[in-house]
Each structure stands twice: as structure tokens, then as C-alpha cells.
């Protein structure tokens, strides 16, 4: 067996579990005493409950209890206790807390019954009378009241100060474009609905299987809200059926399941229906204005980007929509602004590449509009304004192979064959359009820990309370560990998703490989260190006076890099020391002193061909090339899949996805997968993914930048630009459905 390595395309180590149905998700754990909960959601968007009558539901044999605000015990009273690790500023929702209704679908009752069907049936019998208050769910009506978001959301950075005099420069610019771009609220809709199974253990402690991107976040939330000690609550989530951000914050089914389990002292499962998946967070509805001024040769002289996204009335969700515009292109005069405006909807939540997806949709559309106004090739225009340093922070990039993305992506796509004018490429009744856009995402690292146990039989167990929402965490962590200790991949077992393990950062922002990977690297280095020391005690040891730099771990053994002698088996080293196993634990903390001297981003260039049926207005994406600069690639196979997923999301955002509000009801009405359209097989063409070479020793010890987000950024703009090239119609409001093209 060969040594497991990073950089090589390995099949997923959890593949077998996933193709045989053995991988267990949150709503699939069980216990002999398990009962089922079903949520009743509010029928109005704003107002209060005046009467709630559960008598009929309770009369059904097998219904155990109906929880409402009237019989739910008072729990933590400070907002602080309800605020999870990634909560934005404001007062988080407290389910079943009082009679007040703040959004349609807000949980107003939880029915607990002996079977799922019975709970669902009984939920329909709970009668709720409301006193409705006027609600507002139209962004245009509140846009003028946009405010700076309240502080508190992790990762949010207010826009940088203006540089130069953007408004004057715009007024004086020889060429100007200015437009407003909009996209609707978008729900993540992971295939696995949100679910929580709470198992009440014999000692009264709780084992919770929660659909979450951060087991520690769920555990801490439950402890704070219910006043429990951390050793009374263990959250175990080995697999998550897609998160995309929807699992970053504890969703209300977690609270409800724990509430019922504690009250009834029985194990409880609560699973949201697909309809109820439209009552949790979403990518916020956002309107943006971009104004660009340029010289006749295409050099940017003014850039203004203003955005307003929606939030709820009780929390200020916010995201980094506009900062990218100050970083991506060289421009002496920029003004970037961002605000949030409250609607009577639930609070939005991060969705794949939050902020960047939104900002780049507008910016990259506007750049295309400018290229058209200038009669310049859109790629040439981007190269002309290529930023060599971060002008807003006046610091260099730790690496930026975006130029290579442009070059390799264009070559793969055959961009040079594109004709400049809109409506100039045609195939019979089909209008053909080629469009492109740039993507950008921040490379981040957060503190994480890992532990490792190497046993004399040559097996290595590594663990960290990270997650597996689909990126391939099990696989790449196993690869990193196998490589460090010269073991075959099959000898390594990586465990995650359990609060009993050393804590890891929450799985989001494309930072798992960087953060948890660095912790795995650190714990393996600790093992290496110990092994080298032990090897130095061997009789006639060749390792005397040597450091880790002089040796390598290969073929289950240790040897001198310079030497020709075969490796000394790790088992022999351990046996000589009389050790059956070696355990280590390590923490990886970002080197902020160094990292803060640089700006670190992943980049991409995405090229798209669309065909538009002129008579029907239907848009088909025919091919996509996505060229990505994401630092070192640990596993080209799973890495490619991440980019594919991002591109597919981009196709959905551009052409299909739209959470539609009935403003009379204040409710999302297409709340099912038949009417909320996500891309299906037939919508997705061949997608060509290219990873360009990029070295970066600043971002983290592994040199990785993360790939979960970068694949989607820019895709919607590239498609809109291609549609313009095909039809001459500039669509500035997503999704680009056929009615907008007819």
C-alpha cells in the first residue's frame, strides 16, 4: 500500500457509507423511548396570538403534549444566552416565548406524539386565533430607512472609508455606466431538512444529533438557554446532508426538541418539513447600485457601490457585500456603502459565499456594461484594471494568481473566438452568448484543535469536532495525517462532529481545510517530534542529533532524508520504547501578526456559454469553464466537486431560484421544491474546472485557501453577461426567467 498524500485525487473515505445508506444524519438516530414532534407555524406575519386551543389535538390517543407560549417554562432571560456564536446583533428569536408574532411561519406550537404521522395530524388540529398587525415585506418600501447594522456579527467588516472623490470623478469621467441590480430572497434548501434528535441518556444527560455546521455552537446554545452544564449535553453529528450556511446557527427545531425532551424526560425528534424550511434563514433580498467611470482607454477612475439588504425587525443580519469592489480593480476614487433594512420576515443567514455572491453579481455585471459602453473585450477591460495590491488596506496580496485564472480559463473556453458585439453569435433559432466574470473570496483561518492516537499496530486515529457537510472533510484530514506519518490512507481514521472531541471552528466560510487542516498538521507534527525522540534512543540510532528537517516519514517508518537506508518501522520505534500507543493533542492558531500584513483571497474566472431561444426566451447554459486560484489543492477530486457545486448554485441563482413573497400574506408562497426551482440534472451542462498553480505560505501552514465558496462567486454575473451578449438585453433583476426576455 502506498502512502496517503495530499495533492492526489483520492476517493472519499466516507464514500462507502454514503453509497450504501449507512451514513446516518441527524433525524435518523433513534432510541427505544423516542417520540416525535411536529411544529405548528404562525399563519400571520405580524401581530399576536390571542388564543391557542390544543384540546382537540391533545384528545387524540398517542398525543403526549402540545407546547405553546402558555406552557413553556421560562428559560434564560438575557439575550446574551440566546445568542449563538455567529448570531448577528439584536435579540434572537425565542421560540414559544410569548404571544408576539414577528414573521409568518414562526413556531407557535410543538405537538409531541408517539408517531410522526400522529404528531403531524394533531398539529393540524391546534387552533390559533391571532390579532394581526400591519406587516411590511417589500424591500422597496423600507430601502430608504436602511441603517448601519448593529455590531456583533462575526466576520462582518463595515465598508472601508471612501478613497479619493468618487462622485466628482464619476461626474467628470468620459465614459460612465450606472445601474441598479437586484436579487430576491433565496433559501438554501439543503436536501436534508433541518432535524434534531435528542436522546435522553440513563443519567439524564442529553445526546443531541442536530443538523448543524458547528456541534459546539449547538451545544453551547443549548447549555446557555436551558442552563445546563456542558458535561450534560453532547452534540454528535457525523454527517450533514448539506448546509450551505443554513446550519451555521441553531435552528428552532433544536430548541423545540430539547424543550420537549427535558419536559417529558423522553427522547424526542423534530424534523422540519420542506415547507418549514422556508421559515428559517435565507440569502437576503438585496438591491445594489453600481456606478463606474472610466477613461476612454478603459482605465477606471470612479467606482461607487451601494447596497441595501433586508434583515428582520429583531436582528441585524449583515454581510460583506461591497468591500470586494475596493479590492478587485485598481481605481483611485471609490465609495462603498452598505446598509440593512428591516422587514417582517425571519432573519437572513449566511448562504454560500455570503456577501461576495451578492456584491460580485452587481460589480461584475457593471464591468460588463462598461466594456460594452467602451467597445472593449470584457476580459481585456478586467486585465487593464487588474489590482496588484489591496488599495483599501495598502498592503500586498499574500498571493493572487487571478491573471492565470483569466488566461487558462480563456484558453480552455476559446474566448478569443468571441465576437465583440451583442447578438453577433447565432445558431439557427438560437442566440448564442459568451460571458465571463471574476470571483473572489476571503481566505481565512480560525483556531482549531485536534488530537491523535498512534497505535503500535500502525493505525492512526485523528479527531476534531469539525463537520462534514459535504466538502470531503473526512477525506482530506485523513490525507493530511497519512502524509505526515507516512501511512497508507486506510490506516488513518478521522473522526469529527462530536463535542466530546477537541473543539474546531464552525464549518463555514471555506475555512475548514485551513483551520482544522492546520490543527491536524500540528498534532501530526507533535507525533513526529515524539517519534523522532524515541528513535534517537534506538541502539546505534542513525537519528542522533537530527531534527525533523533531516528526516522523513514514509512507508510506515522513519528515515533520514539524505540516507539510502530503509526506513525504521514506526512500530519498531514504539516497541523499543515499550509503548503501545502515543497520544498527542495540538492547537493551531493563525499567525495573525504575519497574516495581517497581507490580504489573502481566493480568486476565480468563470466563462459561460448560453443559448437563448429567441421565440421562447428560454436560456440554456451550454458550457462553463471555472478557473480557480485557491492555493494548494489537497484533493483534486473532492476539490473539483466543490467548484462544480458552486457553479450549479450560480446557475440556480441566475436562472431559477426565487423565494416568492405574497406581500398580502407576508409569506413565502412557493415553499416547496416543485415551485422553488433549483437546478436539476437537465439544467447542468459539462463544467470544466481548472485549478491554477498558486503558492501561498502566509494563509496557513498548508497553503490552502478553501474552496466551498469561490465556485459560486461571479457565476450569476457571467450568465447575465452571456445573456446580454446573446440577446442584447441586460437583465438586472434575478432570476433571468423567460418572461424577462420576451
Amino acid at each position: 500500500m502506498t502512502t496517503g498524500k495530499t495533492g492526489e485525487p483520492h476517493d472519499r473515505v466516507d464514500g462507502r457509507a454514503k453509497v450504501t445508506g449507512q451514513a446516518r444524519y441527524a433525524g435518523e438516530f433513534t432510541a427505544p423511548d423516542l417520540v416525535h414532534g411536529f411544529v405548528v407555524g404562525s399563519a400571520i406575519a405580524r401581530g399576536k396570538i390571542v388564543r391557542i386551543d390544543a384540546a382537540e389535538a391533545l384528545a387524540l390517543p398517542g398525543v403526549l403534549q402540545v407546547y405553546t407560549h402558555e406552557n413553556t417554562p421560562r428559560l434564560a432571560w438575557r439575550d446574551r444566552s440566546w445568542r449563538d456564536m455567529v448570531a448577528p446583533g439584536g435579540s434572537p428569536l425565542r421560540p414559544l416565548h410569548d404571544a408576539e408574532i414577528r414573521f409568518s411561519g414562526q413556531p407557535v406550537a410543538l405537538v409531541i406524539a408517539e408517531s410522526f404521522e400522529l404528531a403531524r395530524e394533531a398539529a393540524g388540529l391546534v387552533k390559533v386565533d391571532y390579532e394581526a398587525a400591519p406587516h411590511e415585506t417589500r424591500l422597496a418600501e423600507v430601502e430608504s430607512e436602511a441603517h448601519e447594522p448593529a455590531r456583533g456579527k462575526k466576520g462582518y467588516t463595515p465598508p472601508p472609508k471612501p478613497r479619493g472623490r468618487a462622485d466628482e470623478a464619476l461626474a467628470a469621467a468620459p465614459v460612465r455606466v450606472e445601474a441598479t441590480y437586484e436579487h430576491p430572497p433565496l433559501h438554501h434548501n439543503p436536501m436534508e431538512p433541518h432535524a434534531t434528535t435528542v436522546i435522553v441518556e440513563a443519567d439524564g444527560s442529553l445526546t443531541i444529533h442536530d443538523k448543524t455546521q458547528g456541534v459546539s455552537n449547538s451545544r453551547d446554545y443549548v447549555c446557555k438557554v436551558f442552563g445546563l452544564a456542558s458535561d450534560q449535553v453532547r452534540v454528535v453529528t457525523p454527517f450533514v446532508g448539506g448546509g450551505f450556511g443554513s446550519g451555521l446557527r441553531p435552528q428552532y427545531q433544536l430548541f423545540l426538541a430539547v424543550l420537549a425532551a427535558r419536559e417529558l424526560r423522553r427522547s424526542v425528534r423534530v424534523v422540519l418539513s420542506r415547507q418549514q424550511m422556508f421559515t428559517i434563514g435565507y440569502r437576503p433580498w438585496t438591491r445594489q447600485r453600481v456606478a463606474l467611470g472610466a477613461e476612454r482607454d478603459g482605465r477606471l477612475c470612479a467606482l461607487i457601490h451601494e447596497a441595501v439588504g433586508n434583515t428582520s425587525r429583531f436582528e441585524d443580519y449583515c454581510e460583506n457585500v461591497v468591500p470586494w469592489s475596493g479590492v478587485l480593480y485598481e481605481c483611485p476614487n471609490t465609495r462603498l456603502e452598505y446598509g440593512v433594512a428591516a422587514l417582517d420576515l425571519y432573519t437572513p443567514i449566511d448562504a454560500r459565499a455570503p456577501g461576495a455572491v451578492t456584491g460580485l453579481w452587481a460589480l461584475e455585471s457593471a464591468i460588463d456594461e462598461l466594456a460594452d459602453a467602451l467597445d472593449i473585450d470584457p476580459l481585456a477591460l478586467r486585465l487593464k484594471n487588474y489590482a496588484e495590491e489591496d488599495q483599501d488596506h495598502r498592503r500586498p496580496f499574500s498571493s493572487k494568481a487571478l491573471r492565470d485564472c483569466y488566461r487558462e480559463g480563456a484558453a480552455r473556453f476559446g474566448w478569443h473566438r468571441r465576437t465583440l458585439a451583442a447578438r453577433s453569435m447565432r445558431e439557427g433559432a438560437l442566440q448564442i452568448g459568451w460571458g465571463m466574470a471574476t470571483g473572489i473570496w476571503e481566505a481565512q483561518q480560525a483556531p482549531s484543535q485536534a488530537k491523535a492516537l498512534l497505535t503500535v499496530d500502525g493505525r492512526l486515529h485523528v479527531a476534531s469536532a469539525s463537520g462534514e457537510i459535504g466538502p470531503g472533510t473526512y477525506t482530506i484530514m485523513s490525507q493530511i495525517a497519512a502524509e505526515q506519518l507516512g501511512l497508507p490512507l486506510a490506516a488513518v481514521r478521522f473522526e469529527l462532529g462530536d463535542t466530546a472531541l477537541p473543539p474546531a471552528m464552525i464549518q463555514g466560510g471555506s475555512a475548514t481545510a485551513s483551520s482544522v487542516g492546520s490543527a491536524v498538521l500540528a498534532v501530526c507534527r507533535a507525533l513526529q517530534h515524539t517519534l523522532l525522540k524515541l528513535a534517537q534512543a534506538l541502539p546505534d540510532s542513525p537519528f542522533g542529533g537530527r531534527t525533523l528537517a533531516d528526516v522523513e516519514f514514509v512507508d510506515r517508518g522513519l528515515r533520514l532524508r539524505s540516507g539510502v537506508a530503509p526506513a525504521v518501522p514506526l512500530a519498531a520505534i514504539m516497541r523499543h520504547a515499550g509503548l503501545g500507543s502515543i497520544a498527542e493533542q495540538a492547537t493551531a492558531i493563525p499567525d495573525l501578526a504575519r497574516q495581517s500584513r497581507y490580504t489573502s483571497n481566493a480568486h476565480s474566472a468563470v466563462f459561460v456559454e448560453v443559448a437563448v431561444d429567441e421565440a421562447l426566451g428560454t436560456v440554456t447554459v451550454r458550457r462553463v469553464v471555472s478557473a480557480v486560484a485557491g492555493g494548494r489543492i489537497l484533493n483534486p477530486k473532492t476539490a473539483r466537486s466543490q467548484i462544480l457545486g458552486g457553479v450549479v448554485w450560480g446557475i440556480g441563482m441566475a436562472l431559477e431560484e426565487h423565494s416568492m413573497l405574497d406581500h398580502g400574506l407576508g409569506r413565502f408562497v412557493n415553499h416547496n421544491l416543485g415551485e422553488y426551482h433549483v437546478p436539476v440534472h437537465a439544467d447542468v451542462p459539462a463544467i470544466d474546472v481548472v485549478f491554477v498553480e498558486e503558492r501561498d505560505d502566509v494563509v496557513n501552514p498548508l497553503g490552502v485557501k478553501g474552496l466551498g465558496e469561490i465556485g459560486i462567486v461571479g457565476v450569476a454575473a457571467a450568465i447575465a453577461n452571456a445573456v446580454f451578449h446573446a440577446t442584447g438585453r441586460r437583465i438586472r433583476e434575478l432570476p433571468i426567467t423567460l418572461d424577462k426576455l420576451l
Partner: protein, 164 residues
């Protein structure tokens, strides 16, 4: 008597992954809930419960169906194959193997449905090109967007049959 069900249960016989089971089921219990909640076969997934996502796809007498749209009592006497029943001991079904080799999944939640659907698709024998695979697999959503790899996996599993 099952809780909350009165005496209204029906006796049915189902062959599930080769074993014959005699079951008392409520008339409103779907095949999917029966598999997941009663029989512990959680490999079949629930993504929508409305026939809109394909996560619950199983094979009934060799034909792919959405098990959330079928009441268990409607399948009395049928033979049901779920994802748990595809491998022969340790030997994976060729489609399972092809899914692993082509990295045809990420989170894995749609995967059992995709694979069962693909088994049904191959048995139907209508798909000859990638475009036909795409069209005929469009009832199986994958929010992770593994579509290109799923098409590649199915194409790989189809190939020996084509050559034959």
C-alpha cells in the same frame, strides 16, 4: 395496536431487500415512513415528502418510484429494494462503485435516491447518451450539485452493457 392508530391497521406482506416481512401498517403510512421509521432502513431519504426531490427513490418490483408518494398498503405483495439491498455482501453494486470512483456526491443525502433511480434507469434501457441520462434523472435533485459526476458515474456503469 400501534399508538394512536386505533384498530385500523392493515396486514400486508412485503419483500424488503430479499426478506419477506408480514407487517401491520396504518393505511396512511407511506412506504418511505415505513422503511425509515418502522424498519430502520434510513438509507432512503426524505427530502420533501411530496414527490418533488427523488431522495426517497426505491425500486418496487424493479421499477423506480418515489416511496414518499406511495402508501405502504398499496404495495402489498411487492418486492422492495432499497439502497441497503443493492450490494452483495461486501461487493458493491457497479453503480455504487461508480459513484465512489466518480465522486458523484458530496453530502450524500440525495445519493441513495440517485443510485436507486439510476438502477431503475438502466433497467428501463432508454438512456443512450449523457443528455438522455440528464433528462431521465431530472427527478432526482442534488443540492450539492454533483450532477456532472453523477452523469459520469451512470455513464461508466452503462458502458459494459453498451459494449455487450
Amino acid at each position: 395496536m400501534l399508538p394512536g392508530m386505533g384498530d385500523d391497521t392493515c396486514a400486508i406482506t412485503l419483500k424488503v431487500n430479499g426478506s419477506t416481512l408480514r407487517l401491520q401498517v396504518a393505511p396512511w403510512t407511506t412506504l418511505l415512513d415505513l422503511l425509515r421509521e418502522r424498519l430502520g432502513l434510513t438509507g432512503s431519504k426524505k427530502g420533501c415528502d411530496h414527490g418533488q426531490c427523488g431522495a426517497c427513490t426505491v425500486l418496487v418490483d424493479g421499477v423506480r418510484i418515489n416511496s414518499c408518494l406511495s402508501l405502504a398498503v398499496m404495495r402489498d405483495g411487492a418486492s422492495v429494494t432499497t439502497i441497503e439491498g443493492l450490494a452483495e455482501g461486501d461487493a458493491l453494486h457497479p453503480l455504487q462503485q461508480a459513484f465512489i470512483e466518480n465522486d458523484a456526491f458530496q453530502c450524500g443525502y440525495c445519493t441513495p435516491g440517485q443510485i436507486c433511480s439510476a438502477v431503475g434507469l438502466l433497467a428501463e434501457g432508454h438512456a443512450r447518451s449523457d443528455d438522455q441520462i440528464r433528462e431521465l434523472m431530472s427527478g432526482n435533485l442534488c443540492r450539492c450539485g454533483a450532477y456532472p459526476n453523477i452523469v459520469a458515474a451512470i455513464g461508466q456503469a452503462m458502458r459494459p452493457r453498451r459494449d455487450a
